[in-house]
């Protein structure tokens, strides 16, 4: 290879066939999003004593995530579908384990401690597990143009959802609902039936109100009336809007934000990381980030459309739905369009389980693409 001075075209021709099948656009979008996250994290944590530790941990998580991505891409995704009967109960057990023996942080019991890697959040992994198993379920059991035919799939998702709500992690539970809706839609469910499901969910919601934790109710109320909220949940929202708005078109420049000193905005390096990007990189930086997500989604949906089989298409669209929901809800929350539900911005927010899951999901996408229908 070294003998040829003009590089890429020739080199590519010598790549092994499977490497040529890799969706490099998706890989690049993923890498750029991760890079965005690193910069934002470095800025958010700047000056804080824990900054170096956060970056080091992030690097470790990234390394693990890349391994997960490569493994997920190499394994034949159809084999994953065959494992559904193992994956599904294992996920439920893991979620149960969190409730029984998990570690509580910030009022929620979401973590399991795993040795030197620190704490691990099974609800993140559960999202991918639900996509993989629900796709299998939808492959085996047909969706019929009848509302009743959707019930088994609703139950399939409801079980892990209930366990996650109990933690309590309302945001991630809602992600599962979004995954269900998207996958049912792609599987051919009638829009009328999906609307029926939504209506049923809306009808049940008032009964859930007493089950919700105090802070969850407060957040929902704060969304409706942030300025007049006397209980403080509106505080984060206003801070977040001031930070993003003050970035104006071009931003205050990297590491030049004034609002994003760790304490000012709560949970800044996790759920509110977008405020750092909005403040320091401005409208254009924020839109560039959105564009990267759009590219990612475009590739994911393209992979779904071109998948060799129904299972691959369902998995790919489930993953795309998961990403879409995360991005819209997280960014929507920081700009005041969505209630504060506390779900991370995939690939960008600090959080090992989320990064690991999203990279593994990206790997699954790459694997589906490598085994796509011959065009």
């Amino acid at each position: 290879m070294n003998a040829y001075p003009s590089a890429s075209v020739r080199a590519r021709r010598h790549w092994p066939a499977w490497l040529r099948q890799v969706d490099w656009v998706l890989v690049a979008a993923t890498a750029l999003l991760v890079a965005f996250g690193f910069i934002a994290l470095a800025s958010a944590a700047r000056g804080a004593p824990e900054a170096e530790g956060l970056l080091r941990t992030r690097t470790l998580h990234l390394a693990l995530g890349v391994v997960a991505l490569v493994v997920a891409a190499s394994v034949d995704y159809r084999w994953l579908g065959g494992m559904a009967l193992v994956i599904y109960p294992a996920t439920l057990l893991l979620l149960l384990a969190v409730l029984v023996g998990g570690e509580a942080r910030m009022g929620a019991q979401r973590w399991i401690t795993v040795g030197p890697l620190g704490a691990f959040q099974p609800s993140e992994v559960a999202k991918l597990a639900v996509v993989l198993t629900l796709a299998r379920h939808l492959e085996v059991v047909r969706v019929l143009p009848r509302l009743r035919s959707l019930v088994p799939f609703v139950l399939h998702v409801a079980l892990p959802m209930i366990l996650i709500v109990r933690q309590p992690d309302l945001g991630t539970a809602l992600v599962l609902a979004a995954i269900l809706a998207v996958m049912l839609y792609v599987a051919g469910a009638r829009l009328a039936d999906l609307a029926g499901l939504a209506a049923a969910a809306a009808a049940v919601t008032p009964f859930l109100w007493p089950v919700l934790h105090d802070y969850q109710r407060r957040r929902l109320l704060a969304f409706l009336d942030p300025g007049g909220d006397p209980l403080g949940a509106g505080y984060a929202l206003i801070q977040s809007k001031i930070a993003i708005g003050s970035g104006q078109l071009f931003g205050k420049g990297l590491f030049a934000g004034t609002q994003n000193v760790l304490k000012f905005i709560p949970e800044q390096h996790t759920d509110f990381i977008f405020t750092v990007i909005g403040e320091e990189l401005g409208f254009f930086g924020a839109v560039a980030l959105l564009a990267l997500y759009l590219v990612w989604l475009w590739r994911a949906l393209g992979i779904a459309g071109g998948a060799r089989d129904r299972y691959g298409a369902l998995v790919a669209s489930g993953i795309a739905g998961m990403m879409l929901f995360h991005v819209v809800v997280n960014i929507g929350m920081t700009v005041g369009l969505m209630p504060i539900t506390g779900i991370p911005l995939p690939l960008v927010s600090y959080g090992g389980s989320s990064l690991l899951t999203t990279l593994a999901a990206t790997g699954v996408l790459l694997g589906i693409r490598m085994r796509r229908r011959p065009s």
């Binding site: 792609v186 505080y235 708005g245 459309g305 669209s317």
Partner: protein, 588 residues
């Protein structure tokens, strides 16, 4: 390529994604391009104030629900560093009004420059005339803020001051050691205010307001409510505490009263005392100098931090070790001839009591008997039993800076003085002289161990933690961790009989209360600093002990004459409580 059946639906999903992202981008445009200037002004220009909303500190109650410490409304003067163009001039104007040094004001403003939006505190709890003066000169004082802030109020002044403690501004060292605190925070410096600072302090809130060009608030942008501190219920009994402090009057000394079954501390008094209210708004230099310079050491908590020679009170240890080791029994007889010859030396007693049995020897506090017992047991056993009943070690009470006291051993003496342990040292030790040093609290714990006979409790001031709604959040039960004690029953019986005899017709007669069986031991401890210390350590009712009282009067001369009457006053005041079991100081 033929389109798969799912393709159209996947494509429509893509369309939905584009629409949703367009909405997000539109919102960003509206926030950043259209309203960007407004938010920028809010964030960078001086149109936003980030104010700390102080959290009211939790109330401290006595065991009967009587509030001892609460808060009162006060005003705090602070300054916004970014508003101050000429700190020197501002300091010049403020210095006489606030009574602060000019350099001090300038230093505080400069220290706050790093966070220019946050007010720097200058003086807490200013009075009405200061407020009026500031209001009058408002236009000449840009950046000066007056905020309402609750200030600690000690409702009974100096009562139980050493147990309660006082507040002070956090120091750099404390700031480093305790995350979550901030410069200018008030923190408990001593007493339960310090030990339970986490419980009492709460979490300050924040208020962000948009202000106009002259700094008047236009509207509230964000609000993070303060979380008030939790309340603390103590085991102290304010009424008994008052009796104890009245008993000490103007003397220096300490009183401890404790339930020997549980370790609940009902009285913890130290005299002379001070008024912790002096510290509430930040103590003035003159007051601080006066307290620190007072040779009677009013800030010293004599009950827990002062170590003193126990004198004859230590005979409880000597008697206990002799009885337990089989060196003496109840009816063993001793010749109290008034002196004991040891080689060339003659140790002299106060008086000759003739032939006594153990009970009589305790009753009259016959030195000769205890010398003989101590010599027979040996200094190693004395030290072992002293440690066994908790002397020479912290009691573990919930107070900071508790002293250990000291129990000497032969090796220690060799090391420290390069002299061997002489038989005379053993004799001195057996009557609580020489090197032995104890705190009144340790003595109370020791007497409690004799009274119950089976446990060494951990004295506790805190009883319960109450949430802001008044519901119990935590209960401290000291009975959970007493150290079990194995004293032979016949040794206990003889010792208790002796202690009862002390009050019934011996040196402790002045502690007797009609209708209540009181047992105890007096002490007059010689010390290198002057007149002997007076001690009384006892318990009641002797048949079912539920209250231990220890009185220590520094240089009070005679335990039986000075300390015992104070103990009597406390037993008398507590008598109704001690006689009605149901309302007794055990856990109701």
């Amino acid at each position: 390529m033929t389109a798969a059946p799912w393709s159209p639906r996947v494509a429509r999903l893509g369309l939905a994604a584009v629409v949703l992202f367009a909405v997000l981008a539109g919102r960003l445009w509206s926030l950043q391009a259209i309203q960007g200037q407004y938010y920028l002004e809010l964030s960078e220009h001086n149109r936003m104030r980030d104010l700390k909303v102080p959290a009211p500190r939790g109330t401290i109650y006595d065991r009967r629900g009587q509030p001892l410490v609460s808060n009162r409304a006060a005003f705090t003067v602070s300054v916004l560093p970014m508003e101050v163009r000429d700190p020197q001039r501002l300091a010049e104007t403020l210095s006489p009004v606030l009574g602060l040094a000019r350099a001090d004001i300038v230093a505080r403003i400069d220290a706050g420059r790093r966070r220019p939006f946050e007010p720097v505190l200058l003086r807490r709890d200013v009075d009405q005339t200061v407020l009026a003066t500031l209001e009058e000169h408002r236009l000449d004082l840009p950046g000066v803020l007056v905020q309402a802030e609750p200030v600690r109020a000690y409702l009974f002044g100096s009562l139980a001051a050493h147990a309660l403690g006082y507040l002070g501004e956090i120091t750099e060292d404390e700031l480093r050691a305790r995350p979550g605190y901030r410069m200018g925070d008030l923190i408990g410096k001593t007493g339960v205010e310090r030990v339970y600072d986490d419980v009492l302090r709460g979490e300050p809130g924040r208020l962000q307001v948009e202000v106009d060009a002259v700094g008047r608030p236009i509207r509230v942008l964000g609000r993070l409510p303060a979380r008030p501190g939790r309340s603390l219920v103590l085991n102290l009994d304010a009424a008994l505490q008052a009796v104890a402090e009245a008993g000490l009057r103007d003397r220096s000394g300490a009183v401890v009263a404790m339930d020997p079954r549980s370790g609940e501390v009902l009285v913890l008094a130290s005299a002379p005392s001070y008024d912790p209210n002096l510290f509430s708004g930040g103590i003035r230099a003159a007051n601080w100098k006066r307290l620190i310079g007072d040779r009677r050491l009013p800030l010293l908590n004599r009950a827990a931090e002062g170590t003193y020679e126990p004198g004859s009170v230590f005979k409880i240890v000597t008697g206990l070790s002799a009885l337990s080791e089989g060196v003496a029994r109840r009816d063993s007889t001793f010749e109290c001839t008034g002196a004991l010859r040891l080689g060339r030396w003659v140790f002299r007693d106060l008086a000759a009591y003739g032939t006594v049995n153990f009970i009589r020897g305790v009753q009259v506090s016959c030195n000769v008997m205890f010398w003989l017992l101590g010599r027979a047991v040996g200094e190693a056993h004395l030290a072992r039993y002293a440690s066994g009943v908790g002397l020479g070690q912290p009691t573990g009470i919930d107070l900071p800076a508790e002293a250990s006291g000291f129990i000497p051993t032969a090796e220690w003496k060799q090391r420290a003085t390069r002299e061997p342990w002489y038989p005379g040292d053993t004799l001195n030790m057996s009557i609580g002289q020489g090197y032995v040093l104890v705190t009144p609290l340790q003595v109370a714990r020791m007497v409690g161990a004799v009274a119950t006979g089976d446990r060494l409790v951990r004295p506790r001031l805190a009883r319960r933690v109450l949430g802001p709604d008044g519901a119990e959040q935590q209960a401290f039960d000291p009975r959970d961790d007493p150290i079990p004690l194995a004293i032979p029953p016949e040794a206990l019986r003889a010792l208790r009989e002796g202690l009862l005899a002390v009050v019934e017709g011996g040196t402790g007669r002045a502690a007797a209360v009609p209708g209540l069986l009181v047992a105890g031991k007096t002490g007059s401890a010689e010390n290198p600093r002057g007149i002997p210390h007076a001690w009384f350590a006892g318990y009641a009712p002797a048949d079912r002990p539920s209250l231990v009282v220890v009185v220590f009067v520094e240089h009070g001369r005679r335990g039986g004459e000075v300390a015992a009457p104070i103990a009597r006053a406390i037993f008398e005041a507590a008598r109704p409580m001690l006689l009605t079991r149901a309302a007794g100081p055990g856990r109701p």
